[in-house]
């Protein structure tokens, strides 16, 4: 049996600095109302786990980058970062 390498990309997508985060704003507001006064700021973002088969880390890296730019993140307003685990 051939063991096909598996890679797991963990991707975080958040709004760029200065871009309004309406969700974060509303959630922050709700937390204040609930009495969590210690909270000084909230950022809402997306988290994706992408499982890949039959690719090495070197192969996976540019592919994930491409997926992020093409599909996952809207680079006009969002930035992304990811890690690769095998």
């Amino acid at each position: 049996m051939i063991i096909r390498p598996e890679m797991l990309a963990k991707i975080h997508i958040t709004f760029k600095n200065g871009v309004l985060d309406p969700q974060g704003k509303a959630v922050h507001h709700a937390l204040k109302d609930l009495g969590y006064d210690e909270v000084s700021g909230i950022q809402m973002g997306k988290y994706l786990e992408v499982r890949m088969e039959g690719v090495s880390r070197e192969e996976a890296e540019p592919r994930v980058k491409e997926m992020c730019e093409k599909l996952f993140a809207n680079t006009v307003i969002e930035s992304y970062r990811f890690t690769l685990d095998s």
Binding site: V19, L20, D21, P22, H29, N74, I77
Partner: protein, 742 residues
């Protein structure tokens, strides 16, 4: 003035999208050089987007007055009286450039902007429509853009609780590099409670409310005033994110505020943000305003006066209230969880002075900023391409022996296919007014508390406008009116969104001038005032302009909502009649484009007096309860209109058998797009009454067949030309759009 102000270099002037002549004009009239913040203010206020400097001269050709008009162009939106103490407030606006860069947010903030224009005037927004244009359906970016734009409109409109009741969506390669997103909004207001955007009453406080100001969208207005090129990427951080939830709160807070007698004047912060609303409100009030920037609610640290003044953060308003009412107003805003602060005061001298912690950073005469941009009477020149395309030679287009395949191909083409994939993503029912849901010629909304209803339609065939902008624009008006008439209403007002290429090119200016003239003539002819509008120029990418696209939206009134009529056939056994003349006209047709990939010829001839007589006939057939369905023939001609009348019924499609007599080519007979034709259906008993009515007004009219069966059968001069099961046609027509865009 702050001494540290850097001197303005020619480079800085250019970066602000201004010419050196304009800068010199500012210096001359101001008697000094502006500082950088002031330069920023001039650059947005004198931009094409805000100043209409290329278009203003021509727009004067549009008729803007009428007995029902309560407010014409010049305010945030136009207002037309509908009787019963009520008025409608409406406008259409473009968000083309932002939507190309970031379709979801661009379209969403477009909806937000037009909503604010409406409730700013005291009106409850009750309907949205959108006119969308994308590149070729198979262009690699089209899918992404369509999905983003529709999602953005859906999200924002739905969340604010304003139904999106209609619209249009077209695909054409001319929009590959420049999509169009035009959004229309209509609101309802008691006719004696209309609010305007003026600052009067010296000493009255100026209150900022809504969301906080961030660094977003700085220079959106000047972006909308230049062409796209590779460096548009650089302009990207200017994209704003919309917060429909904040907008919903803003709507409710504003309407509640306007129930009180506190408001002097109110205006939203749209393009050019705080700057524009401050200067325009002072301009309309003949006053000045003193503004203190440190009081402006801010989202970010370290914002400069330049940032604060030019930010296009969304969901913000400026209001002047009567002195002494500020605390009440602030309390009301806080009730709705909105940020709010007193940021300034109305002054008597017509000058806007802006301070940061007491230091004056701007001091500019209102008139110079608001009205100082020179009207450019830009040169015009008939474009050379017209010589190549303005005739069509049918010699090498063989006529059709049968029409089945063509009909199916047309029904499945993205421009003709059913648009439910789009409008089912929009809440089109909320607020319980939508009597006529999307899917018929016009949307129809009841006016609660009255017998009346409103009919809305938005239209433009830009292929026609490319081939002949004058008549193309006339046809857009005529078709919109016809859609209203088919739904049981008469037109009472019009708004337009003029989308064109780069006005610095004489050929584009020629298209613009022609289209505005044509539109103006048609409006005068039909007696429809143009009460608001918007101009979007520079829709070009790397020198490629879009087809001229003067989109029009017409608002119609049904004196009685029971006049509401839909386009689909109702009963087996009903007769089908065609009002109007079919001529051999294939120029600019969807047929030539889909079947032969040709965009050429003259658009169909529009006989305005005939159009009016036909409209009147159709309306009287509806009002007398004779016509039970009415559908206008537009793209795809008689063939497509017949098919739609069979298959657009929300539940069950129904067949029909038609016998058409013709002396022209078969393809022109079924798929040509001759104007002013309406398909009506009526019971067999009504036949004589209908025929007599048509005869009395001398309008071409023929009974061409009968509703019934499972198939659409069309015989031409006794020979079968089309015979297709309607369930099959319906499937093709319903599923096509999704197959392109999903």
């Amino acid at each position: 003035m702050k001494p540290v102000t850097p001197t303005i270099t020619p480079d800085m002037v250019r970066q602000h999208g201004m010419t050196l002549e304009e800068f010199r004009r500012i210096q001359d009239l101001l008697g000094r050089a502006p500082n950088v913040t002031e330069l920023g203010i001039f650059s947005v206020m004198w931009s094409e987007h805000c100043s209409y400097k290329s278009s203003r001269y021509y727009l004067k050709k549009l008729p803007t007055e009428g007995p029902r008009v309560l407010q014409g162009p010049g305010e945030n939106a136009g207002v037309v009286d509908i009787g019963d103490g009520m008025a409608v407030v409406f406008k259409i606006e473009s968000h083309n450039h932002p939507s190309f860069i970031e379709p979801r947010q661009g379209a969403a903030t477009g909806v937000g902007g037009i909503l604010r224009d409406i409730f700013t005037m005291g009106a409850r927004p009750i309907a949205l429509m959108n006119s969308l244009r994308f590149g070729a359906a198979d262009h690699p970016r089209t899918r992404f853009l369509v999905n983003g734009v529709v999602d953005g409109i859906s999200n924002y409109g739905n969340c604010t609780g304003v139904p999106t009741v209609g619209g249009e969506i077209y695909f054409d390669p001319c929009y590959n590099g420049n999509i169009l997103v035009n959004v229309f909004c209509l609101g309802l207001v008691p006719s004696d409670k209309i609010f305007l955007g003026n600052a009067s009453g010296v000493g009255n406080p100026v209150i900022y409310f809504g969301s906080k100001t961030g660094r977003d969208g700085i220079h959106g207005a000047s972006m909308a005033s230049s062409e796209f090129d590779e460096s548009s990427e650089e302009k990207r951080p200017t994209v704003q994110v919309g917060d429909p939830f904040a907008e919903k709160l803003l709507i409710e807070a504003c309407l509640e505020l306007m129930n009180e007698d506190w408001v002097v004047g109110i205006q939203d912060m749209g393009a050019a943000g705080l700057t524009c609303s401050t200067f325009e409100m002072a301009g309309r009030g003949g006053t000045g305003i003193d503004l203190e920037l440190s009081r402006v609610p801010k989202r970010e640290e370290g914002m400069t006066p330049y940032d604060i003044l030019l930010s296009e953060s969304q969901e913000r308003m400026l209001v002047v209230v009567h002195k002494g009412m500020e605390e009440e107003a602030l309390a009301l805003f806080h009730k709705w969880d909105l940020d709010a602060a007193i940021v300034g005061e109305v002054t008597d001298k017509p000058v806007v002075r802006i301070f940061e912690n007491g230091n004056e950073v701007v001091n500019l005469p209102v008139e110079l900023v608001v009205d100082g941009a020179l009207d450019l009477k830009r040169p015009t020149k008939k474009p050379g391409y017209l010589q190549k395309v303005d005739h069509v030679n049918l010699a090498d287009v063989p006529d059709l022996a049968r029409g089945d395949e063509t009909l199916k191909k047309l029904l499945a083409s993205p421009n003709i296919a059913n648009k439910h994939w789009v409008y089912e993503q929009y809440d089109h029912m909320v607020r319980l007014n939508t009597l006529g849901l999307p899917g018929s010629d016009a949307a129809v909304l009841r006016v609660k508390g009255t017998k009346k209803a409103l009919a809305l339609s938005v239209d433009c065939n830009s292929r026609y406008c490319y081939l002949d902008p004058f008549h193309g624009a006339q046809i857009a008006v005529a078709e919109c009116v016809r859609n209203i008439v088919c739904s049981g209403g008469g037109p009472i007002g019009l708004t337009n969104c003029l989308n064109f290429g780069n006005p610095e090119k004489p050929e584009i200016m020629w298209q613009f001038e022609q289209a505005v003239s044509g539109m103006g003539e048609a409006c005068k002819f039909f007696n429809i005032p143009v009460v608001s509008g918007n101009v979007s120029l520079y829709n070009e990418t790397i020198g490629e302009a879009i087809y001229p696209t003067p989109t029009v939206a017409v608002v119609g009134l049904l004196e009685d909502r029971t006049y509401h009529t839909t386009q689909w056939f109702k009963e087996e056994g009903d007769l089908v009649g065609l009002i109007g003349l079919t001529m051999e006209e294939l120029g600019g047709s969807e047929y030539l484009s889909v079947m032969c990939e040709r965009v050429e010829g003259k658009p169909p001839y529009l006989d305005l007096p005939l159009a009016r007589t036909i409209n009147n006939l159709c309306l009287s057939l509806i009002k007398d309860g004779l016509a039970v369905s009415a559908h206008d023939c537009s793209e795809g001609g008689l063939g497509v209109a017949l098919a739609e009348s069979c298959i657009s019924h929300p539940h069950a499609p129904t067949g029909a058998v038609l016998d058409v007599e013709s002396t022209i080519r078969n393809d022109a007979c079924l798929f040509g797009e001759s104007q002013s034709r309406i398909l009506v259906s009526f019971s067999a008993e009504s036949r004589t009454a209908v025929e007599e009515k048509a005869k009395a007004v001398g309008v071409p009219f023929k009974v061409i067949g009968k509703v019934g069966g499972d198939s659409l059968v069309v015989n031409v001069n006794g020979e079968e030309f089309i015979n297709e099961e309607v369930s099959h046609l319906k499937k093709l027509w319903m599923g096509a759009l999704e197959s392109y865009v999903r």
